[in-house]
């Protein structure tokens, strides 16, 4: 079977998965108890008139139509790229609400993921290469130890200690309040400075996983026949390390990386809340609290598509890299 047919079959599977996800996406919010008007009303905790509940129902235009009708309408709107109107941020369209956070989330969580992946894989590969050396003795247990901290606690400790008490880093927002967003060096510097601490906490929390995966895969590969053959032929160690060992050991990490890329858009919920970072995670929380079906659907849709998309790309990459995947 040729790689193209293989790829085509995979894409078909992805389409099926997308449809199932979209349908679940439609059903799940509707299975939650209560209705959005009630949820909005409840948020005021008696500060608004009970009569407001009626006006909220009218405002939100809640539909009593049968589920099947709503489902057809939902698919039609999706086909036109319409995600509807957010209820919590009424009357803002869902796409605009998601637009406020998506870029920052991709920047922060995506950046942290790439750094963590590159750094972790490098450390893991080096640790395995010099098995029993100081790096191999210190890095995996130390990083696993750091990764085992409850993330929320670690992020708050970092925000408090490094950001607040020592004042080395800004403790909130994606860029400084005095900086205007735009393509200026000042803005880029400010954005980087603001991403450093939250990004670093995410890297510290996830680094251990990448190190262990890479180290284990590397150990297996280093014990394989091709590497011994290469060593027996007297190839320089640097060449063996880069061209033969890493390339093969990277495959399992690459799969995890693809999965992780997809989940980047779901937002680093805790990071964003602790550092008041304007991203997707906080929106998701708001949407669940406010039973904001359209916003929930929009967010899940971006997450679903990102996960599926990233997996499709990784699949294609693996097919290109690994001859065994082509059969």
């Amino acid at each position: 079977m040729g790689p193209l047919i293989q790829l085509g079959r995979r894409l078909g599977l992805y389409a099926l998965a997308a449809w199932v996800a979209l349908t679940l996406n439609f059903l799940l919010p509707r299975l939650m108890p209560g209705d959005p008007a009630q949820a909005l009303y409840a948020r005021f905790q008696g500060r608004i008139e009970p009569a407001a509940l009626d006006s909220l129902r009218v405002t939100l235009g809640l539909s009593d139509a049968p589920l099947a009708t709503q489902y057809v309408l939902y698919l039609q709107q999706l086909a036109h790229g319409e995600l509807g109107t957010s209820l919590v941020y009424f009357p803002e369209p869902v796409s605009a609400v998601i637009g406020t956070g998506l870029g920052w989330t991709v920047f922060l969580a995506g950046g942290a993921l790439v750094v963590s992946f590159l750094l972790g894989s490098t450390i893991g590969a080096l640790a395995a290469w010099r098995r029993g050396g100081w790096l191999d003795t210190v890095a995996p247990p130390l990083l696993s130890f750091l990764g085992a901290f409850p993330y929320f606690w670690m992020a708050m400790a970092a925000a408090w200690g490094l950001g607040f008490e020592l004042g080395w880093f800004p403790v909130r927002h994606a860029y400084g309040p005095e900086v205007q967003a735009g393509a200026t060096l000042e803005f880029v510097a400010s954005a980087l400075r603001h991403a450093l601490l939250p990004g670093a906490t995410m890297v510290v929390a996830s680094l251990g996983g990448w190190v262990l995966t890479m180290r284990n895969a590397m150990l297996v590969v280093l014990g394989d026949d091709p590497i011994r053959y290469a060593q027996a032929r007297g190839l320089p160690p640097g060449r063996i390390f880069l061209h033969y060992a890493i390339r093969n050991a990277l495959l399992p990490s690459l799969t995890s990386f693809g999965m992780a890329i997809g989940f980047v858009v779901s937002g680093a919920l805790l990071t964003e809340i602790v550092f008041a970072y304007p991203g997707q995670g906080y929106l998701l929380l708001q949407a669940v609290r406010g039973q904001d079906y359209p916003l929930l659907q929009g967010l899940f849709l971006t997450i679903t598509l990102a996960v599926l998309g990233a997996n499709a790309v990784v699949d294609a990459l693996i097919i290109a890299l690994d001859p065994r995947a082509r059969t």
Binding site: P33, G34, Q38, L40, Y41, A42, F44, Q45, G46, R47, I48, E49, P50, A51, A52, L53, D54, S55, L56, V58, T59, L60, T85, L87, V88, Y89, F90, P91, E92, V97, T100, G101, A159, W160, F164, F169, V171, R172, H173, A174, Y175, G176, P177, E178, A181, A189, L192, R193, E272, I273, V274, F275, A276, Y277, P278, G279, Y282, L283, R289, Q291
Partner: protein, 541 residues
Amino acid sequence: MILALGLLACADPVAPVPPGTMTVLQEQQAAWVRNFNPLLSTGGARWPTSAGIYEPLLIYNRATGEFVPWLASSYRWTDPARVLEFTVRPDVRWSDGQPFTADDVAWTLNLLKRFPALDAAGLWTFVQSVEAPDAHTVQITFTRAYSPGLALVAHQPIVPRHVWEAVADPVAFANPDPVGTGPFTEIVRFDPQVWELGKNPYYWQPGVPAVDTLRFPAVASNDQALLALIDGEVDWAGSFVPAIARTYVSRDPEHRGYWFPAVSDTVFLYPQTTAAPLNDARVRKALSLAIDRDLLVKVAMHDYAVPSHPSALSDGYRSWRVEPPSDTWVRQDPQAAAALLDEAGYKIGADGHRHGLDGAPLELPILCPAGWSDWVRAAQTIGHDLDAIGIHAPLQGLDFGTWFDRVSRGDFALTLGWSVSGPTPYAFYRGLLGSGTVKPVGEPAPSNWQRYSSPAADALLTRFEATDDTAEQHALSASLQAVFADEAPAIPLFPTPAWGEYNTTRITGFPTAEDPYATLSPNTVPDALFVLTRVRPRSAN
């Protein structure tokens, strides 16, 4: 890489806040969404849209118990409690320079009739017609005598006809560039993480506002709000702060302060009164007598709250409360509680538990939204107190949506809950005792979750609606308080404090316990307008 490190290494340029700028923390949002529609009932508009950019006709001042003339210079009833006449100020202008007239008021109120989605206060459930006979007079005719309607009409934000007339669908209108009469109307800057509101060049109060710009940084959590407060970055906030004297004030006692008056809604333990044993007032009173409220406010509310008054009215209704109260059913007295339960027939069995009339041991689970740590602690304290009189009352924490759904449908035995508030005790007692708010069990009810109605209270409430005489309203309120304490439809625990913090390093003039011209909390709307028009930069002292 080196460039990036170089950029990061250079000191963080902390630009000083321009003088005359007041930083306010009121809403908790991760990113701001530009919406300044004051008529939306969804709460989607940014604070202070409804009372700051736009303004009401009158503002009820809870500190003094009086209506303060605002866009209207005066009001009177031309037909008692039925026809209301406002005289609007002649010198008010919209922020685009156009004059504000009675026609704007009439047009706004009539807009709510055309778009019920905007009628958050339900004005058109009792208003018959609104007219502006001349440029300074608005006449509002009610369908029946309904004096509580005054506060609802008076607090309605008014929008300019000449702008809103052109808006095809005001319900879906985000009003990105508002034109209002309020002290602050100009959007100086709007970014997802910070926005700034400048002053109205045409504001009608001379020399007001003294502050040039309000700044709103987006802060998503209480922890972040706390950091910003401690840092001294914020001038005015309405957050809950634990151990505030130590965490916040002690860092600069000269400038920092807080004031948490017990004026917000009262937190109740609601019994579902349609089923035994909670359909018996003696049982409900026994539960109330079992609770140690002094301990409760210490454990659950960090000692910021005070035990409820027997009338359940918070300090926001101080002028309405009968002192001293006739009944002390909110003070702990386990012996009296036990006697009431014995009298009602719920005797202690051999197992040490009280048993129902059907012989089964009494078990009354207390519902509470999981994660509301203050309420969870309150429910645990109550459960402990009820155990002491032989009633098992385990805490049942639920997801917020599930909790509210069950409570509003009447599917519970006991639950914690908030209450309805308004300028007079009318709406408060109507939600506790009035038959008009009772919905059948299974149907969601916005208030009166306990599903209790009292014929005695109904008669008093009807008389309250029919009179615009304040003295008579006070007399009726006194009778309502007696009915409430007698029938015990719900068990009052403590009034919620109105959280408010200030920092006078840059801005002064905030209300305090010593100068209570308004509530300090920015969360109490429209009272926040009193503060917005009083505060001034320190240099301008």
